[in-house]
């Protein structure tokens, strides 16, 4: 049961509460040390909380628990809770959702909104000054340390006039309510405010959860803000409405907030790109796509400005784009926020804002600051010396001892007071939270957002509230230690119903010319190849294990000599003269087989192929449905686990692989992504099948009664053969089924037919068909196999290496290799997809 704003130690037991529905909200006590968001006293709720509390009061704690579970499930379905790769990277969940929103009255909101708009304007003016004439420094409104010693002041961004004319376009601010109920600003976010995606997701979930309640109340909607964000950007840059060339830049799936970046990308319709997807040419930014380079005119960055350009900022950050600052300097791109904007969120800046506000805006600062004192002042220094725990660096990494940055000591403080500031601990309000089966009261911090509009700033009427049990977690920067709440802002006016989901876009890449980044296509092609490679290898190993795991002595297994040929061809058994083979088999076969599955060293051991499957899938994981990602997660577990039954391991891996490919292919639209993945699979299967048949031609007739069915089994076509021919095994029909029969999905002919059909749909500049080498090769291979005459092939005739068939297979192998090269060079590596950046240092000055 919800114990709202009670003192932090006392909790009710669940059993005592469940039968007392009416008393659900009656027994709690309000702490005197912090403001309670929901209650005035232990028996009286605040006016604007009445409706919610009344609505919840008719529900018992079991109902609330069900709400909680539903909320978790909805977020999970959206991909926000469960990280399908959590076993790969051990990432905890970010900002789990509490089902109880936090409420603000329209009056409270009015003041907050005006205050945020003013503060955003102030910080924007400050950025314009610092990156321009620097009057604030020259007039000593800011201490020199604040600007010139500040790592957030990016020298190479000085003098850049942002393309859209705005120095701050997306602003976030953390506020708390002090013990008197006054809102105070705790910190600003001018580099990349995080959490907007989570605020959106939380509203989507809660509006569904409280479907009986939410629509009837005048709660301000979030959707219009996102529309404003986008419209203002389009207008600021005079971009085309249909094809605006805006991308969302992420550091990749490893980022703890990747989920929110994917969500924002989909919601705003800005393709999600990584630094590797972008390149600079002629001081313009381009997205590397299959169809060629596509101009990017605006970038919504979700990487820090200090990591955005390894070239200009001389660091080794590989997340950004080398040369991006030059693109900004030439005014060829709008970046949200402009590079260098992180300056305005420098710790310690707050102490100077009241003066700066008077000077830059001619106004008094509306929102109160959390107290912050510069130690360059007499008062600040006294405060700091009295409260050494509250002291922080203005500009970190100034002072070093024995190569290590020094922590603040009384000595440092007295010697360099101007480099430090002091700030007391915050004393935030508390709010009720539902913890799944019981309630609690936790500290709460509000994060609000604003975006630039033509005439100033618009504020999101809502936001992300962060809660935590301890102050340390609350003010820390670890989303895994915090919970989040939706913020509901009541309105005096009737709220127009706007559906949040209207804003949802289809997957952005497919919106624009059905084209996708080369990096993504490259990963999908190789994912297809690795999946098929793993399956082919497993089929062979399973066939061998099934034969040798029985009680038969090796010399009594008739298929074994032929299997040995296949194992040698795959490099699983070493090439050795015939006479050694027997010895090899009796002693070492199981060792070799084990190495083929679990060996870490060989490139094509099952484990190593699966690792590449996992890696490529991980690189493009936002392309897959959650279900298919769960299969990847399972696969990862299987890779790590080892039972004492290798055959069972292989069966399980095979099952999971098939499950993943099935789900992945099923859930993807039949766009280019799907084509590249299938193309990879077809290429790999054709290559394997051709080399399998080719290398076994000279051995297949030695004991054709056993080797032919073995070959069919390894090729996964045994059932089909039996079904179709119902005769004994003969070379002609077997080869026909494995090579030419286009109705057999495992045949080479089938693969070539699919390849030819995929190639037709790949983007190309030339309208004429068969204009590209890969198109011509695909047709040539398909025609070749269709014209192949297998009617005379039989084991009674003379089979030899020089045979016509052998020559054909040899040339087919070469053509497949060439085809694969053409696809890679035409679509994937013409523009290098992985930057092998080297930094060129200048010469030593001697």
């Amino acid at each position: 049961m919800p114990d709202f704003c009670m003192t932090r130690s006392k909790m009710h037991s669940k059993s005592a509460a469940s039968h007392e529905q009416a008393a659900l909200f009656s027994s709690f006590s309000v702490s005197e040390n912090s403001y309670c968001e929901s209650h005035i006293s232990s028996s009286e709720a605040r006016g604007h909380w009445q409706v919610l509390i009344n609505s919840l009061s008719c529900k018992d704690s079991d109902t609330l628990s069900r709400y909680h579970d539903r909320a978790m499930r909805m977020r999970q379905e959206d991909g926000a809770v469960i990280n399908p790769f959590d076993e790969l990277d051990k990432q905890p969940n970010s900002w789990s959702l509490d089902i109880l929103p936090v409420l603000l009255t329209s009056k409270e909101w009015e003041d907050i909104e005006l205050g945020i708009v003013q503060r955003a304007r102030l910080l924007e003016n400050l950025l314009a000054d610092v990156y321009g004439v620097q009057e604030t420094a020259k007039k000593r409104l800011l201490p020199a340390e604040m600007v010139f010693a500040n790592p957030h002041f990016l020298h190479s961004c000085h003098g850049i006039q942002p393309l859209g004319g705005r120095f701050l376009t997306f602003y976030g601010v953390d506020m708390y309510r002090d013990v008197n109920g006054t809102f105070k600003v705790f910190r600003d976010y001018t580099d990349l405010p995080t959490g907007l995606g989570y605020a959106l997701e939380n509203r989507i979930v809660l509006s569904r959860l409280f479907a009986d309640f939410y629509p009837k109340k005048n709660i301000q909607r979030l959707a219009p803000f996102f529309k404003t964000f986008h419209q203002a950007l389009i207008e600021r840059l005079s971009l085309s409405k249909n094809d605006p060339g805006i991308c969302l830049l992420t550091s990749g799936p490893g980022n703890p907030l990747y989920f929110e970046q994917v969500l924002l990308s989909r919601y705003l319709g800005y393709p999600l790109v990584e630094g590797q997807d972008l390149t600079v040419r002629d001081a313009q930014l381009f997205l590397k796509k299959l169809g060629g380079l596509e101009r990017v005119e605006a970038l919504f960055r979700h990487i820090s400005d200090r990591e955005s350009d390894s070239f200009a900022l001389h660091n080794s950050a590989d997340t950004g784009v080398a040369g991006l600052i030059q693109v900004c300097r030439e005014q060829n791109i709008e970046v949200i926020n402009p590079l260098g904007s992180g300056f305005a969120q420098s710790p310690g800046l707050a102490a100077f804002l009241p003066d700066l506000c008077r000077h830059l805006l001619g106004q008094e600062l509306k929102l109160a600051n959390h107290p912050s004192y510069w130690c360059g002042d007499k008062y600040g220094l006294e405060y700091a010396l009295a409260h050494p725990d509250h002291v922080s660096d203005l500009a970190p990494h100034q002072f070093f001892e024995e190569g290590k940055a020094v922590s603040v000591s009384g000595d440092q403080l007295s010697r360099h007071p101007r480099h430090f500031f002091a700030s007391p601990e915050i004393s935030p309000s508390t709010a009720p939270v539902w913890k799944g089966d019981s309630s609690a009261s936790q500290y709460i911090l509000y994060r609000f957002y604003a975006c630039a509009t033509a005439d100033g700033f618009a504020v999101l009427p809502g936001g992300l509230a962060l809660t935590a049990e301890s102050l340390e977690s609350l003010v820390g920067n670890n989303p895994a230690e915090q919970s989040s709440k939706d913020i509901w802002v009541f309105s005096d006016k009737v709220v127009e119903p706007v559906s949040l989901m209207q804003g949802m876009q289809t997957i952005p890449e497919f919106k624009r010319h059905s084209d996708l980044p080369s990096r993504v296509a490259d990963n999908l092609l190789w994912l297809g190849r690795y999946l098929e490679r793993a399956e082919g290898m497993i089929r062979l190993l399973r066939t061998v294990y099934r034969r040798v795991s029985g009680e038969d002595r090796f010399e009594d297994i008739p298929e074994l000599p032929f299997l040995v040929v296949l194992l040698k061809q795959k490099g699983i058994l070493p090439e050795s003269p015939e006479e050694d083979t027997n010895q090899l088999l009796s002693f070492d076969l199981f060792d070799y087989l084990y190495q083929a599955v679990r060996g870490e060293s060989g490139a094509d051991t099952i484990i190593n192929i699966l690792k590449r499957v996992l890696q490529t899938a991980w690189n493009v994981r936002n392309r897959f449905s959650l279900d298919s990602l769960k299969m990847v997660n399972m696969l990862d577990r299987l890779v790590r686990r080892e039972s004492n039954d290798p055959l069972e391991d292989l069966d399980m891996i095979m099952l999971t692989l098939s499950g993943f490919s099935g789900l992945a292919m099923e859930s993807m639209t039949r766009g280019l992504g799907w084509r590249f993945m299938d193309l990879g699979r077809r290429i790999e299967r054709a290559v394997n099948q051709v080399s399998l048949i080719h290398s076994s031609l000279t051995h297949i007739c030695i004991d054709s009664e056993t080797s032919l069915p073995t070959m069919l089994e390894v090729s996964d076509s045994l059932m089909t053969y039996r079904d179709r021919y119902r005769t004994s095994f003969q070379l002609g029909p077997v080869l026909d089924l494995l090579l030419a029969d286009e109705t057999n999905p495992k045949s080479v002919g089938f693969q070539l037919k699919q390849i030819a059909s995929h190639v037709k749909y790949l983007p190309q500049h030339n309208e004429r068909r068969f204009a590209t080498p890969e198109e011509r090769l695909a047709l040539e291979m398909l025609t070749g196999i269709r014209l192949l005459d297998l009617s005379l092939a039989s084991c009674s005739s003379d089979m030899s290496e020089e045979d016509e068939l052998s020559v054909f297979l040899q040339s087919l192998e070469e053509k497949l290799g060439l085809f694969s090269q053409h696809v890679t060079s035409h679509y994937l590596s013409r523009i290098p997809t992985t930057p092998h950046y080297g930094t060129i240092h200048g010469s030593l000055q001697v």
Binding site: F148, A322, F400, V846
Partner: protein, 291 residues
């Protein structure tokens, strides 16, 4: 004195680079005692993109991109400058160093405030305790600022061994102090660190020395490559150069190219390449006196 400076930087890549971006600071700047008569930049292969700008510190930089596969890159800067001697202030009459520190922090004069750019840690300069200790001997109370700076210059010259093999472009001040050897870049960084750790303003100057000295005078260290030294800010006067590598105050045989907080602001050439493998770098400098 008139000089023609030819500075060639050549890169050879082991595999063709598909894209290279470079930024160079090779154009000498005008100063109270240096007049740039001409300066040109020749780049092979011809870059598809070239941009000239004056940077935050007032240096002229060029940023260019070669956007097609290339195995070599050759940058040649040819400049003609006219230098003249600059009178030094009388060192005993310069302000005591503590007063300079105070001026930097409180003065309302714009040039004093802007000199604070060069007061703090920067990418290659950290304000270390060990450097502070090393420098402390030169900063006894009441010593005039120029005397302290010249003392630092002289001590570095005496205490440190010049060793071309001891350093790379990334060598830190701490390493230099520990090994007691280095090259001009290291000595300049060390000098700057000594001054800044005492709250003074010091900057890094990149430039050249005359290659063949006048008859009867020894050839100075750093004459066949690009050279570097430091400068100290003296209120009411301006900046005074100090070359700890040769223990002398630069005169009209020195050519100034660019200045910044440290080497990283004014590296003569730096860049990134896509592809290119390993690269091989050769640098040639010639400073010829024009009659």
């Amino acid at each position: 004195m008139k000089y023609r400076v030819t500075h060639t930087t050549a890169y050879a890549y082991s595999i063709p680079a598909s894209l290279s971006q470079n930024e160079v600071f090779l154009t000498p700047r005008n100063t109270p005692n240096q007049n740039v008569l001409s300066s040109e930049l020749r780049i092979v292969p011809t870059p598809q993109y070239m941009h000239r700008r004056v940077d935050y510190f007032g240096n002229t930089g060029h940023l260019f991109m070669v956007q097609h596969p290339h195995e070599n890159l050759r940058i040649t800067a040819i400049s003609q400058v006219d230098t003249s001697p600059l009178p030094l202030p009388e060192k005993q009459k310069t302000l005591p160093w503590e007063q300079v520190v105070e001026r930097l922090h409180t003065s309302a004069l714009e040039q004093d405030v802007m000199a604070c750019q060069y007061c703090f840690a920067s990418p290659m300069i950290q304000l270390q305790d060990d450097v502070f200790q090393y420098a402390a001997r030169s900063f006894v109370p009441g010593v005039p600022i120029l005397e302290a700076a010249l003392d630092i210059m002289q001590r570095i010259y005496a205490d440190f061994e010049y060793d071309k093999d001891a350093s790379t472009v990334d060598t830190s001040v701490s390493e230099v102090l520990g090994h007691r050897k280095g090259v001009c870049q290291d000595f300049a960084h060390l000098g700057i660190s000594c001054l800044r750790s005492h709250g003074l303003a010091a900057r890094y100057v990149s430039g050249y020395l005359e290659t063949i000295p006048p008859q009867g005078q020894p050839k100075l260290v750093g004459a066949d490559a690009s050279h570097a030294w430091f400068a100290v800010y003296i209120p009411d006067h301006g900046w005074v150069d100090c070359d700890p590598t040769n223990n002398m105050v630069p005169n009209d045989t020195y050519v100034t190219v660019a200045w910044g907080r440290d080497y990283s602001d004014v590296a003569p050439a730096k860049g990134v390449v896509t592809g290119g493998g390993v690269h091989d770098l050769t640098v040639q400098v010639d400073v010829a006196r024009l009659l």
